[in-house]
Amino acid sequence: MNSVQSLIQPQVLAQIGFAGIVALTLTGALIAVFPRNILYNILGLIVCLTGVAGIFVYLGSPFIALMELLIYVGAICISIIFAIMLSRPLHLSLPKRALPKVGLALGVGAAVFIMLSAIISRTEWQPAAMRSSDWSIATLGAYLLTRYNLVFEVISLVLLVAILGAIIIAGYARRSPS
C-alpha cells in the first residue's frame, strides 16, 4: 500500500513519467535509425519527437512542446511521408546493410558520444547568478518582436527561399528527361 501510495506521489509519478518519456524518446530514436524500411523510420521519428515534446514539458515549456508536436510531427514528418508517398517506389527499395559500414558508423557514433559524455561530466555547469523566472508566453512573444526581431524576419525569408527552392527543384520544372 505504502509502496503504491508512494508510487502515486507526484514526484515519483513524475519520475516514472520522465523515465517513460525518455524510454519513448530513445525507442523512437532507435526505430528511426535502425530498421531498413523507411516507413518504420518515419514512425519511429514521430514517436521520438513526441517523446522530445514530453521532455520539453518536463523542462517547463509546454508551449514549445506543443510547437514541437505541431511543427515537427505535424509538418516535417508529414511532409516526409508525403514525399515518400508521392514518389511511389521510394519506400520499396530496401537497401542491404553492410556490416563493416554499420560497425564503423557505430564506432564513430560511440566516439562522439564518449566525447560528449566526457564534456558533460567534466564540466561544472554554473547557473547564472541572477535568474529570472518569467516563463510566460507573452514575454516570449515580446522577445520575438524585440530582441529577436531580425531573426524572426529572416526566418520568414528562409522559409520563403526554401519553399521557392523546393518548388523549382522538385516542382514543375523537373521533368525527368526520359
Binding site: 559500414k101 564503423l104 558508423a105 566516439a111 566525447m115 566526457a118 564534456i119 567534466r122
Partner: protein, 636 residues
C-alpha cells in the same frame, strides 16, 4: 712611374719586347685571320722587335750591378697585392734573349715550313701568344706573375701541339700535355700559396734572400720547394710527369723546336735557376731533385735508344738533357745548369729544325725511311744535324761539351759518387743514341735510287718557289749551327756575367778535375763508336744491342710502361671509379632522391584522393572521427 715611361729606355724596351707579340696575337686573332701573309708579317715583325729589344737590353745591362725592377699594380685585394712588372737581372736577360732569338728564328723558319697550311694565320697567332707569355714569364718579378705566364705558356703549348686538330693523336697529345703539366702546376701553385701564406711575399728577390729562413721553418721550406718543383717536373717533363713530351711531337716541327726543346720545357729549369737560392736552402729537397733528374735522364735515354721516330729521339734527348740540367742545378752548380740550358736551347733547336727539313721533305718521321730515301742528300740540314748531335753528345769543341763538362764538374763535387756515374752513363747513352740516328740517315743499308736534288721530291708547288722556301728554312739552321759552334767559347764571359750576381754561388764549377774531362769525352766517343759499330760501318746490321733484347726493347719502347700506368689510372680510377660513381650518385641518389620526393608527393595526392571516394557517408565518418579526435586531444 708614368713619367719615366718614355724616358727610361730599359723599361721601354722591356715593355715593347714583351708586349708586342701580344698585340700581334690580338691583331691576328681579331682582324687578320683571313690574310695569312699579313698575319705572318705582323708576327715576325713583332718578334723581330722583341729580339732587338732583348739584345739591346742584354747589351745595355751587361755589367749589371743590381737587378732592375719595375712594377705596377695589377690587382689589389685586401692584404694581397699582385704587381705586374719586369725584373731584369742577369738570368732573366739571358733567358729573354734566348727566347727572343729562338722564337724569331723559328718564326722565320716556319715561313717556309708552314707555307700553304690552312691554319697559317692561326699558327702565327699562337706563336705570338707563346712569345709574349714566355718573355713576360722570363722577366717576371714575382712568383705569381711567373706562375700566371707559366700557365699561359702551357696554354700556347696546348694550342700548338694540337695545331693539326683534325688528327686525333694531335688533339689527344695537346690535351695530355696540358693536363699533365697542370698536375705539376697544381703542386707549383700550392707551393707558392704556402710561401705566400707563410712568407707573405712572392717577390723572387725576396724569396731568394736569406730572409726566408728566418720566416719559414726548414721543413716548410722543403715542402714548398718540393711542391714548387712539381711545376718543374711538369713543365720540364721530369720523372714521373715525363711522358707528355714525346707525344707533344705531334705538333708542327718548328713548334717542337721552339716549345718542346729550346724554350718552354726549359722554363722548368729556368724556374729552378730563378729561385735557386730558395731551393738550395733545403738540402733534402736538392737531393730529391738530383735523384729525379738522374732518373729522368736515364729513363729518357733508354727510351731514345729504341725509337725509330726522328723527332722522338730528340724529344727523349730533350727530356734527358733537362734531367741533366736539373741534376746540375740540384748539384749546386748554378752556372753549369744555366749554361747547359743556353747551349741546349741552341743545339736542340737546331736539331729539331733540321729534322723538320727532313720531315718536310720526305713526309715521314721514320729515320730508317728517311735514310732509305736519301736523306743525306739534303746537305745543309745533314751537316747541321751532325753538328747538333755532336754538341748533344758533348764532343769538343761544340757548345754542349763545355756545358756538359761544367755539370759533370758539379756532380763530381758531390760526396756520393753515384751521381757522377749516373751522369757519365747518361753522357755515354746520349752519344750512342744521337749518333745512332745520324748514322742511320747517313749510311742507310740501302738507298732508293730515284732520288735527286737537295730539296726532296715530294713536290707541291713549283721548284722555284720551293727553293725559296728551303732557303728560308735553311738560314735559321745556319745561324743556329754557328751559335752551336761558338757558344762554348763564351763560357767564361757568361759565367762572369751570370755568377757575378750571386757572388760565386755555392760551388759552381766544382774543381776542374782533369781526369773527368777525359773520362767524359772518352765515354762520349765510345758511345759514338758503339753507334758506328752497330749502325755506321758498312754492312752493319743496323740493329742496336738493346733491340736485340726483346723484353728490354719493349720496356724501353713502351716508355717503361709509365703511360700505361697513367692510362689505367685515368680509366679505372678517374673515369671508372670517381666519375662513374659520382655520375651514378648524381642520377640515382641525388636526382633520384629529388624525383622520388616528387613522385612520393604525387603518390600521396593519389592516395589521399581516395578519401574523396564519392561515398558520402564514409566522408562524414572521417569528418566526425576527426572531430572526436580533436576533442579527445583536449582531454589528454
Amino acid at each position: 712611374m708614368t713619367s719615366s715611361w718614355f724616358q727610361d729606355p730599359t723599361l721601354l724596351a722591356a715593355m715593347l719586347g714583351a708586349l708586342l707579340p701580344f698585340v700581334s696575337f690580338v691583331l691576328i686573332m681579331v682582324f687578320t685571320r683571313p690574310y695569312p701573309k699579313l698575319s705572318a708579317t705582323i708576327s715576325v715583325a713583332a718578334v723581330s722587335v722583341s729580339v732587338i729589344c732583348a739584345l739591346f737590353l742584354l747589351g745595355r745591362h751587361w755589367h749589371l750591378e743590381h737587378p732592375i725592377q719595375y712594377t705596377t699594380k695589377w690587382l689589389v685585394s685586401g692584404e694581397l697585392y699582385v704587381p705586374f712588372g719586369f725584373m731584369l737581372d742577369q738570368l732573366s736577360l739571358l733567358m729573354l734573349t734566348i727566347v727572343a732569338v729562338i722564337s724569331f728564328l723559328v718564326q722565320v723558319y716556319s715561313l717556309g715550313y708552314m707555307a700553304g697550311d690552312p691554319g697559317f694565320s692561326r699558327y702565327y697567332a699562337f706563336q705570338s701568344l707563346f712569345a709574349w707569355a714566355m718573355m713576360t714569364m722570363s722577366i717576371a718579378p714575382t712568383m705569381l706573375q711567373f706562375y700566371i705566364f707559366w700557365e699561359l705558356v702551357g696554354l700556347a703549348s696546348y694550342l700548338l701541339i694540337g695545331f693539326y686538330y683534325e688528327k686525333f693523336s694531335a688533339s689527344e697529345a695537346g690535351k695530355k700535355a696540358f693536363v699533365m703539366t697542370r698536375v705539376g702546376d697544381i703542386a707549383f701553385f700550392l707551393g707558392i700559396l704556402l710561401v705566400l701564406l707563410n712568407f707573405g711575399n712572392l717577390n723572387i728577390l725576396d724569396m731568394n734572400s736569406v730572409d726566408v729562413t728566418a720566416r719559414m721553418s726548414p721543413a716548410l721550406i722543403t715542402l714548398c720547394a718540393i711542391l714548387i718543383f712539381g711545376g718543374v717536373a711538369g713543365k720540364s717533363a721530369q720523372f714521373p710527369l715525363l711522358t707528355w713530351l714525346p707525344d707533344a711531337m705531334e705538333g708542327p716541327t718548328p713548334v717542337s723546336a721552339l716549345l718542346h726543346s729550346a724554350t718552354m720545357v726549359a722554363a722548368g729549369v729556368y724556374m729552378f735557376a730563378r729561385i735557386f737560392p730558395f731551393f738550395s736552402k733545403s738540402a733534402t729537397a736538392m737531393t730529391l731533385f738530383l735523384a729525379i733528374g738522374m732518373i729522368t735522364m736515364l729513363l729518357a735515354s733508354t727510351m731514345a735508344m729504341v725509337t725509330r721516330d726522328i723527332k722522338q729521339v730528340w724529344a727523349y734527348s730533350t727530356i734527358s738533357q733537362l734531367g741533366f740540367m736539373v741534376m746540375g742545378l740540384a748539384a749546386g752548380s748554378y752556372f753549369a745548369g744555366v749554361f747547359h740550358l743556353t747551349t741546349h736551347a741552341g743545339f736542340k733547336a737546331l736539331l729539331f729544325l733540321c729534322s723538320g727539313v727532313f720531315i718536310h721533305a720526305y713526309e715521314t718521321n721514320d729515320m730508317y725511311e728517311i735514310g732509305r730515301q736519301g736523306g743525306r742528300g739534303l746537305k745543309i740540314p745533314m751537316v747541321c744535324m751532325t753538328l747538333g748531335a755532336a754538341a748533344l753528345s758533348g764532343l769538343p769543341p761544340f757548345s754542349g761539351f763545355f756545358s756538359k763538362e761544367a755539370i759533370m764538374g758539379g756532380l763530381a763535387g758531390l760526396h756520393n759518387p753515384i751521381w757522377l756515374w749516373g751522369g757519365l752513363l747518361g753522357a755515354f747513352l746520349t752519344a750512342y743514341y744521337s749518333f745512332r740516328l745520324i748514322f742511320l740517315i747517313l749510311f742507310p743499308s740501302k738507298i732508293k735510287e730515284p732520288h735527286h736534288g737537295e730539296h726532296g721530291g715530294h713536290g707541291h708547288g713549283d721548284d722555284h718557289h720551293h727553293a725559296g722556301l728551303y732557303w728560308v728554312m735553311a738560314w735559321p739552321l745556319i745561324i743556329l749551327a754557328t751559335v752551336t759552334l761558338v757558344l762554348g767559347l763564351f763560357q767564361t764571359p757568361l759565367e762572369n756575367f751570370l755568377v757575378g750576381h750571386y757572388g760565386g754561388a755555392e760551388g759552381h764549377g766544382g774543381g776542374h778535375h782533369a781526369w773527368l774531362l777525359y773520362v767524359a769525352v772518352g765515354l762520349a766517343l765510345s758511345g759514338v763508336g758503339l753507334a758506328w759499330l752497330e749502325f755506321g760501318r758498312k754492312g752493319a746490321s743496323q740493329v742496336g744491342f738493346v733491340e736485340r733484347m726483346e723484353p728490354v726493347k719493349t720496356l724501353f719502347a713502351e716508355r717503361w710502361y709509365i703511360d700505361h700506368f697513367y692510362r689505367l689510372f685515368l680509366d679505372y680510377v678517374i673515369y671508372g671509379i670517381f666519375s662513374n660513381l659520382f655520375t651514378r650518385n648524381d642520377r640515382q641518389v641525388i636526382d633520384g632522391g629529388i624525383d622520388g620526393i616528387c613522385r612520393a608527393t604525387v603518390g600521396g595526392g593519389r592516395m589521399l584522393s581516395f578519401l574523396q571516394s564519392g561515398m558520402l557517408q564514409y566522408n562524414l565518418m572521417v569528418m566526425f572521427a576527426v572531430l572526436a579526435l580533436v576533442a579527445l586531444y583536449f582531454f589528454f
